[in-house]
């Protein structure tokens, strides 16, 4: 089984970090395994962890008003290996803006968002690389959400 540091090293968010920096982030992370169809967090729940997918797929779901009185849960994106979800936890947002549910059994690394944010505050050089990568991850989601919803 891969170590937390190895999983982080191949993730989009942390791949630009040095070995020493990866060790610091890995120290805040823990590996978690969930079965199929498991709700990892719900929309509007208090933020806690940021997640990196090591194996499996996670569906990003949102409650959307189809018309007044009818609210449906819809998948807006599928997160794959190496990708991150739950960024709200590291961006200081009090609640998650969507739900995350496993599509198949998943192995994840969960990192406490607040502690990661403090680590980046103390190491802005590393923080710059992580936040730049996060901007790329979010902008790539922006492209894929359009492909998913307009296909």
């Amino acid at each position: 089984m891969a170590s937390t540091k190895e999983i982080l090293a191949r993730s989009e968010l942390f791949k630009r970090l040095t070995n020493e920096e990866l060790e610091k982030v890995a120290g805040l992370g823990r590996q978690e395994i969930y079965p199929e169809e498991f709700t990892i967090f719900s929309e509007s729940a208090m933020t806690g962890d940021l997640y990196i997918v090591d194996a499996g797929k996670v569906a990003v779901e949102m409650k959307l008003s189809v018309y007044p009185g009818l609210v449906q849960q819809a998948t807006v994106e599928v997160v794959l290996e190496g990708d991150a979800f739950g960024w709200s936890a590291v961006l200081g947002s009090p609640i998650y803006s969507f739900s995350a549910k496993s599509v198949e059994p998943v192995r994840l690394v969960a990192i406490d968002g607040e502690r990661l944010h403090s680590l980046l505050d103390e190491n802005p050089d590393m923080g710059y690389r992580v936040m730049s990568a996060l901007v790329e991850v979010v902008s790539s989601s922006m492209r894929s959400v359009k492909r998913t919803l307009l296909a």
């Binding site: 949102m62 959307l64 819809a74 807006v76 994106e77 960024w87 709200s88 961006l91 200081g92 947002s93 803006s97 969507f98 980046l120 802005p124 050089d125 923080g127 710059y128 936040m131 730049s132 996060l134 901007v135 790329e136 979010v138 902008s139 989601s141 922006m142 492209r143 959400v145 359009k146 492909r147 919803l149 307009l150 296909a151």
Partner: protein, 154 residues
Amino acid sequence: MATIKEVLASSDLFKGIADEGLKKIAALAQAESYEVGAILFTEGSATRDVYIIKEGRVALDLSLSPTPGVGKQTTVETLSNGQICGWSAVGGTAVYSMTARCTEPVRMIAINGERLRSLLDENPNIGYRVMENMAKIISSRLRNIRMTLRVFHR
């Protein structure tokens, strides 16, 4: 009248940046004015400048076709003073993700994305704050896109 530095200081993208950093960023900035209906950039076109709105309103339009610029468009968000558009120019993306259209006479500050990115690379202390602000801005924008597009899905 507010100076460029003051406008930057109260913007979503540059809030929290120390005075010294704001001075460096202001040195790259230029003031621009646009009439109602002016298009700042179109979805899918090559990125160049990032814009900070000083006065007026700008609509962000998204094409409802998988091919940018073809077919109907929908407005995802309307921006006003302190908000930014054209983040792609500094976020490492080759093309703009939406079209920006002035719905009022607009006064804004334009900054060349590549030059700003070089400044951030050289000053990671500033870069960290700017990229953190940008991640917040675009994750909120992504949420609006998801909500808007879902309405047109199926």
